[in-house]
Symmetry: D2
Subunit: 144 residues, 4 copies
């Protein structure tokens, strides 16, 4: 299993009139954490796009358990449990300290510049396979 942790600090612009972090932000935090997870296994998403590979989101789910507030320091955990094929799936957990605030998942595929579905590049599949087998080296960073 791949498991990486990213740090998010809730911005004032992310709050809403309820005083909570607005629920749509979790989807962007998942993305920031996902991009950092790819970094950690040696796949800069910026370089994937530069070489003609794009990874759109096919599906996203978020289950909100407790609100996050302005200035909260959150940890977003990315979990990959299965070797990606043409599609792949990532799970997320958002915590403030030990308190689980939200869980979620996203599903993805690869497309090329013309938005045609394509097979993932070999280096993506290899990096995922190695990380699923060996784990991720080093400490987590900051996603936002």
């Amino acid at each position: 299993m791949i498991r990486t942790e990213s740090r998010i600090r809730v911005r004032y612009s992310e709050t809403d009139a309820m005083g909570f972090a607005h629920h749509a932000n979790y989807v962007t935090w998942f993305e920031a954490a996902r991009i950092e997870m790819l970094d950690r296994i040696g796949l800069a998403y910026r370089e994937l796009e530069a070489s003609g590979y794009f990874i759109p989101v096919l599906e996203v789910k978020v289950r909100y358990r407790r609100p996050a507030f302005f200035d909260d320091r959150l940890t977003v955990t990315c979990l990959v449990k299965e070797q990606p094929g043409v599609r792949f799936r990532i799970e997320y957990e958002v915590r403030r300290g030990d308190t689980l605030l939200a869980t979620g998942s996203s599903a993805h595929a690869f497309i090329d510049k013309s938005t045609k579905p394509i097979r993932p590049p070999r280096r993506f599949l290899n990096a995922m396979k190695a990380a699923l087998r060996n784990g991720i080296p080093g400490p987590g960073g900051h996603a936002g």
Copy 2:
């Protein structure tokens, strides 16, 4: 069944480097459409909050089928299929013309100012019941 339609025009600020409307915006479009659906059955969300009722999101799901682009005029359909109890569920369909771009759902409950779960106000339950039975009068508006 309650069925309302809201109009969204994709803003430039909502696009991303892939050239698509960024996937997190669908969650905010669902919200804009949901608030307009409540308007249409006589429940201004602004007044609900002013009277101490808040409707946080417990869960949101989006399935992305085709991308939306800058300046697209989209229709977001809100569907309520069951009489709300303590919790309620709304489904969404996003279309450009006849083309279905995305589907989704959200689940909700009521809380008070102290974030304590509470029963929905009677006028909410009554308005939903009437709309589920009789449908919604009048034409759709603009959500954004």
Copy 3:
């Protein structure tokens, strides 16, 4: 002088923990109003980009006088006072009813796909000149 009006309804996602529409949204509302102003003089920004012309923002200023709140129906007025040259300037006024909430301005130039500064296309200069002289036909629409 060119003067167009666009309608914005404040989304819940645009509010912040102060209970106001977050100040960064005015910059995106200016953009939505600016794009509608271009529509109104016959220049769809989508088509400008499709033909290789991009109009980045060189400068933006906003002066906030009074807050906007969730669900407010705002009018954003775009004003163009001078014939564009290589650069051009747009002014904005944001109102709720008769109450002026904010004023601002943006400055722009044209670039091509490689981000090189270029002269505005002739049809842009002509459409601006005609609108500055003759005004804008027809009613305002909805920007968001």
Copy 4:
């Protein structure tokens, strides 16, 4: 002079169809950097709000010189040059490495919960005075 530096990594959700970081994000980055500047002089904005002080934005200006791109690691410098009175002003510089991408400023005042203008709390004025005289201890952090 107070001078603090904050780190921002451009999120994918912050990009636009031009391939740039959308210009409205600079306003939210300024805010994130401003909140970190307040942290650095011992004034957590979260605590200011909890004790009934709010700092709305009266004015914001941004001058864009060069675009930022997805995944860029930016430094946002906050500069305070004068002791705050009832109003105060902060300047900003956004850099990628040594390259200046944007400059800007914001003007602020204090209000209470009822949005009535009030004098800044003494601890704010004292912390600003001390930091203007003595500088800021310690290294910069991460704003986003």
